[in-house]
Structures are given as structure tokens and as C-alpha cells.
């Protein structure tokens, strides 16, 4: 069993940004007397405490502007906290941006040496790893070409190859796993896994909640600069989705959809035999009820449609009344329809319901995107949008 020792201590860290609205000498002199007017305080972090143990992978999640990148930069020493302190030990590598130190006019080879040096490798060590780095990047033919002639893919590959050969104890990663093609992303994730196996500590800022539950041992949820939750990734992700949901509902209330003649009045979703808002268990029958009305002279040949998205916005299910062979009578007064989805088996997570009113040509007359949502409880045997109970057997030889 590997013992975990603390490698990062964040003690009561706060960070204030002062947003100034003027920059030039003239403006400052002119506005010297009333400088308060042109300043605005913004607390990106408020009294954050955090201890990170060696060999763990921690995900920092939160809505945009919640302070997660600021926290990461504070740990990396790039930003000084306004109050509080950050201590760490061991060799650090920060992957805040791939190829941050690349210079357009230098060749790939020169940039490898420069970038490795920026990340803390000595010349001798770089010599040692050079072939490995070039092999990993897969662009040996272009290594003596200036990087300004590289395609963006080649650029990123080379930068990543350097970064992963730096041998860090603590790796800070900010969103960089989201670049490159699919094969490259897989390569990145594989490398992260082998880093984990080697007992390195990884702090990850990401918007991909799937990555958090897949890669991390622990997740920290930040909102408006404070730690809202610190613990098991799937719980953090669930809390995070609730925050996003609240925000979305608030926003939706502010800008009500423009009402045309036909409209969807309301939509509910629940599992048969359960209350609205209760988690949906695999095997339940899901009941979606929608009410429509039309203010004008009425609508012939209309259809009701529903679509279910997962949190990544991928469609996991969709159907319409027309598909089911129904021709609905003229819509005028309020009319309610229900879809019952038999024996649904959704995987863990939150799902969103989109309701649509369409005419016979399939034109959308009124949409209510993400009008309702439901949760499927955590299932620890598998991940993904589909629920199925896995069994495993070792057949030997």
C-alpha cells in the first residue's frame, strides 16, 4: 500500500483582482482624484483551504469564473494570493497551455530544448530524453523546421511530448486535454493514467465532467471563489450540475421564450410510481406529460416531440407523436399528451428534456430546451449513458 503524504497546502488563500478601467498615464492623472470610480474589486478566491496528498488526482470544477484556474495558478506560483499562503514540495510542472514557451522563429529542436528548460529540465537531461520526446510527438521529419510552419496539430503534439517527459511530482493541468484530435486526446489520457500509476500527483481543471468522474479520486467544487464541496467526484459533479441547473432556470426566467401562436404550456417528467424530482431508477417507466395550446385559429396536423440529452448535450433519446402513428386533431384549447417510455435504462447522471411543438413538415413552432430534468442515481459498476448490470468471468485458458 502506498502511503500518501501531503504535497500541497493551501492555507486560507484569498485573491482579489482590482479591475482598473484606465491604463495610460494621461487617464490616470486626469482621474487621479476619483480613482475609486475607476476601480472595481473582484474576489476570485475567498478563504480557500486545501490539502493535496501525493499520488492522488484532484479535479477542480465549477462554473465559468468560479476561480478554479486562479486556484491552479496560485498553486503553481504564477499568481500570488492577496492573503494566505501556498506551500508545496517536489518538482512541479504546469501544463496551463501547451507550447506556452514556443517561439515561432525557432526550429522544433530548439524549441524542445527551450521548453524543457522552462519546465525545469537541464540540458543534459533533455539530451537524454530528446529521442524519446521526438518519437512520442511523431514528427521527426519536421524537427528541424521552424515551428511557425507547423500545423496546429504538430505544434500541440510536440509541446505535449515535452511536457510529459519533464518527470514532475506534481502536474497542474488546465483544460489542455481538450485540444487535438481524438487519437491525441486518448494519448493524453493514457499518459495521465500512467502518471497516476507512477504515484504522481495531478491537479486538473476541466469542464468535462466525464473526465472528472473517470480520472479523479477527489473533486473540489468551486463557486464564486469558495469551496462548495470537496470529496467524491460523482457527488461533486452532481452538486455542480445542480448549481448549473439553478443558474439555467434563473436565466430562462429572465428571458422568456417569445410566444408564437402555438405554444407548449408546461412539461413534466417523472417515473411511474414516483414523485416528480425523485431519481429515476433503471427499469422504471418514464412518463413525460406536455400541455399545448394555440391562440390563433388553431393548428391542424401538429405533432409533439421530446428529446432527452445527457449533460454533454448529446442526444440519448428522441421521439415524436408522428413516429408513433398518431394524427392529432386541431389544436386550439389547452391539450395535454403523455409519452410513456417503457423500461428505461439510463446510466448515472443528470438528463435534460427538450420539448417541441412541430407542424406536419417538421418545422419547430415552439421549443422549450431543457425544460425539465431528472437524475439517475450513482451506479458504481459502470459509467456512460446506458445502464446495464455487468458481469465478469475469467475463462482462463
Amino acid at each position: 500500500m502506498v502511503s500518501h503524504v501531503p504535497v500541497v497546502q493551501v492555507n486560507d488563500v484569498s485573491k482579489r483582482f482590482i479591475i482598473r478601467k484606465e491604463k495610460s498615464l494621461k487617464e490616470r492623472l486626469v482621474n487621479a482624484g476619483r480613482s475609486k470610480q475607476f476601480k472595481e474589486d473582484f474576489w476570485a478566491l475567498k478563504n480557500v483551504d486545501l490539502e493535496i496528498m501525493s499520488g492522488t488526482t484532484i479535479g477542480l470544477i465549477g462554473p465559468n469564473g468560479s476561480g478554479k484556474s486562479t486556484l491552479l495558478k496560485t498553486i503553481g506560483g504564477i499568481i500570488q494570493p492577496t492573503s494566505g499562503s501556498v506551500q508545496r514540495r517536489g518538482r512541479l510542472a504546469a501544463l496551463l497551455e501547451l507550447g506556452a514557451g514556443f517561439h515561432q522563429d525557432l526550429t522544433g529542436r530548439e524549441n524542445v530544448y527551450l521548453n524543457a528548460s522552462i519546465l525545469g529540465l537541464s540540458r543534459k537531461q533533455t539530451d537524454e530524453y530528446f529521442d524519446e520526446i521526438v518519437d512520442f510527438s511523431g514528427i521527426r521529419d519536421f524537427i528541424d523546421t521552424q515551428v511557425k510552419f507547423y500545423s496546429s496539430g504538430m505544434y500541440v503534439r510536440l509541446a505535449f511530448a515535452v511536457a510529459v517527459h519533464v518527470d514532475p511530482d506534481l502536474l497542474l493541468v488546465d483544460e489542455v486535454l481538450a485540444v487535438g484530435d481524438e487519437a491525441f486526446q486518448r494519448k493524453c489520457l493514457d499518459k495521465i493514467r500512467s502518471f497516476q500509476a507512477e504515484g504522481r500527483t495531478i491537479v486538473l481543471v476541466t469542464h468535462s465532467l466525464g473526465q472528472v468522474t473517470e480520472l479523479c479520486d477527489r473533486a473540489v467544487l468551486l463557486s464564486k471563489g469558495t469551496v462548495m464541496f470537496d470529496g467524491a467526484p460523482h457527488e461533486a459533479v452532481r452538486d455542480f450540475r445542480d448549481i448549473l441547473e439553478e443558474r439555467r432556470v434563473d436565466e430562462a426566467a429572465e428571458h422568456k421564450e417569445e410566444v408564437r401562436h402555438g405554444r407548449i404550456v408546461d412539461t413534466f417528467v417523472h417515473a411511474k410510481g414516483r414523485e416528480i424530482g425523485e431519481p429515476v431508477q433503471p427499469g422504471d417507466d418514464l412518463v413525460v406529460s406536455m400541455s399545448f395550446e394555440h391562440d390563433g385559429e388553431g393548428l391542424e396536423n401538429w405533432m409533439a416531440a421530446l428529446q432527452i440529452d445527457n449533460v454533454q448535450g448529446q442526444v440519448v433519446y428522441g421521439t415524436t407523436s408522428k413516429r408513433l402513428g398518431f394524427v392529432l386533431p386541431r389544436l386550439r384549447e389547452r391539450r395535454t399528451v403523455t409519452f410513456t417510455l417503457k423500461n428505461v435504462n439510463f446510466g448515472t447522471g443528470k438528463y435534460f428534456l427538450n420539448a417541441s411543438l412541430m407542424d406536419v413538415e417538421g418545422r419547430h413552432l415552439h421549443d422549450l430546451p431543457q425544460v425539465a430534468s431528472f437524475d439517475v442515481p450513482y451506479f458504481d459498476l459502470a459509467v456512460g449513458s446506458v445502464h446495464a448490470v455487468p458481469e465478469f468471468e475469467d475463462l482462463g485458458r
Binding site: Q9, I75, G77, I78, L96, H103, L106, I118
Partner: protein, 303 residues
């Protein structure tokens, strides 16, 4: 160092025994300066690479390469020699006028390059400053490095010219050359570091610097002799003028490579003045580094 094949247990044991360190720049006081110097020393290879990068990228893709770095000073030399020396007659009072100008120009170009490119260095490297933690002094220092390289090229020409014209002789006066170089490096670095940090907050600095460098070139005895200024300036202003570190370095260079064979009138107590300017320069350098280190905490968010 820790190998790539270290086991997780070995890693955590090693980490347990490593001391805690503060993330980011080190604290205040003189100990802070010492810590900063240590940190920069640890990054000396990077400093070399950054210097090289600066030089390479400056003359990228040009057939003439670094020879172009000579074009400007040689043209300056030619113009000043012809216009100021011959047309305006300054050469009548100063023997070997070409060497005289070039000695001053060489040392002043070093200063102006250090300060000029040092001031913009943090902004020019904003990509790195925002994304990676490095001791940020490295960027103005890399500007010093590349300026030194250009200086060396010019210096070689100066030596050759002094040999050919016959103003160079081996003797203790050459020490003035070394002292001048040290003095100008100390002051150039101090000013460069300070302005680099201030320029992040107030971009007007870089334009002020351009004007200031032009002013200082004429406020030092490069194209005329210091006695000519002494005839005109009131006594207090003359003291300020001759004790400016730039004037002292220029005079020191002229003393070393021109004076001996050209009947130059040395400034009284030149060596002592240079020593005093050097000591004050070191204090200024430490002060500049302290200011820099205080300001650098917010670089990442100001850029």
C-alpha cells in the same frame, strides 16, 4: 534526480523528506534578494537559451544575420564623424575623433539596448509569464545577455580600429574599460529591471524610455568633450553631469581606448567617482530587484 522509473512508494518517501517551499516569488528583505539570486542561478541554462532565442529571432531569415547588428552603430559613427566632426568642427578640438566617438557609442549602445529591450521584456514574454512560473527577472536579464553579445561585436571593431589608428596601448588605463563595463552593466540592469516591472502597470513607460535614451545620449560626452560642457554648465549642474554613471562609463571607455595617444584631459578623480557610482549602483540594483519582486506577484493578471 528522480528517475522516470521511480516507484510510487519511493516517490512518496522522497517527497515526505523534502522541505516545504512557498509557491511563487520569495518574500521581502535582503534575504529575499539572496533567494532570488539563487533562484536565477538555478535557471542559468534557461537564461542562456532565452538570450540565444532573442538573438536568433532578431535576425531570423535574413542573409546578413547578426552582421546587421553592426549596421546601425557603424552608420551612426559615419554620420557623427562627418557631420559633427568635420562639418561642425568638433574634430578640431579632439584628436582621433572617430575612435573617440566609437568608444562612447559602444558603451552607450550597450546601456540603451539593455534598458530599451529590458523595459519591454516582460510584456514581450507575456505568454510565458502568464502560464509558467519562472523567476521573472530572467526576462530583463536575457535582454542584458543579448545586448552584451551585440556589445562584444562592436567592441571587437573598436579594438581593431584603436589598434589601426594607434590609440590602443597596453597599460593600467585599460582597467578603466573593465570598470566602465561593470558600471554600465550594474546601472543598465537596475534600470532595466525596474522599468520592466513598471511598464507592466503603465505602458507609457516604454515610450518615455525611448525619449529618455535619446536625451541621455546627448547628456553624456560621446560626441563632444566634457570640458566643452564644463565651459557652459553652471557648477552644480556640471557635478550632476559628470557624476552620472553613463558619463562616467563613457569617460572610462575613452580613457582606456583613446585618451593615452590623443592628449585627452581626464576628469579629476575618475576612478574614485566610478567606485562611488558602482557602490550606489549596487544599492540601486538591489532596490530595483526588491521593487520588481514586489510587483511581479500581479504580473500574470495585469498582462
Amino acid at each position: 534526480m528522480a528517475g522516470l522509473d521511480e516507484s510510487p512508494t519511493e516517490r512518496s518517501t522522497r517527497l515526505l523528506n523534502e522541505p516545504w517551499q512557498h509557491a511563487g516569488a520569495v518574500g521581502g528583505g535582503v534575504t529575499g534578494t539572496i533567494e532570488s539570486v539563487k533562484e536565477i542561478w538555478a535557471h542559468r541554462q534557461l537564461l542562456g537559451l532565452l538570450t540565444k532565442r532573442e538573438l536568433k529571432s532578431r535576425y531570423k531569415d535574413s542573409a546578413g544575420g547578426f552582421l546587421w547588428s553592426l549596421a546601425k552603430p557603424l552608420t551612426q559613427l559615419f554620420i557623427y564623424y562627418l557631420v559633427i566632426g568635420q562639418f561642425l568642427g568638433a574634430a578640431r578640438n579632439i584628436e582621433n575623433f572617430a575612435v573617440y566617438i566609437f568608444a562612447g557609442l559602444t558603451v552607450y549602445t550597450l546601456f540603451s539596448e539593455i534598458v530599451g529591450s529590458g523595459t519591454g521584456s516582460i510584456i514581450a514574454n507575456s505568454g510565458l509569464v502568464k502560464k509558467v512560473y519562472l523567476p521573472r527577472e530572467i526576462f530583463p536579464l536575457a535582454a542584458v545577455g543579448s545586448a552584451l553579445f551585440n556589445f562584444l561585436v562592436q567592441f571587437v571593431i573598436l579594438i581593431v580600429a584603436a589598434l589601426v589608428i594607434g590609440t590602443l596601448s597596453f597599460g593600467p588605463q585599460l582597467l578603466f574599460g573593465v570598470a566602465s563595463l561593470v558600471l554600465i552593466l550594474i546601472w543598465g540592469t537596475a534600470v532595466g529591471i525596474l522599468l520592466a516591472a513598471l511598464n507592466v502597470y503603465l505602458r507609457d513607460i516604454q515610450y518615455l524610455v525611448e525619449v529618455g535614451l535619446l536625451l541621455f545620449m546627448w547628456a553624456s560626452p560621446i560626441l563632444y568633450s566634457w570640458q566643452q560642457a564644463a565651459d557652459v554648465l553652471p557648477a552644480w549642474l556640471l557635478e550632476v553631469y559628470v557624476n552620472s554613471p553613463i558619463t562616467l562609463s563613457v569617460l572610462g571607455f575613452q580613457e582606456a581606448f583613446w585618451s593615452e595617444a590623443s592628449n585627452g584631459v581626464p576628469l579629476p578623480h575618475l576612478a574614485l567617482r566610478m567606485l562611488v557610482a558602482g557602490v550606489i549602483g549596487i544599492i540601486a540594483l538591489i532596490f530595483a530587484q526588491r521593487v520588481f519582486s514586489r510587483l511581479q506577484g500581479d504580473f500574470a493578471q495585469e498582462l
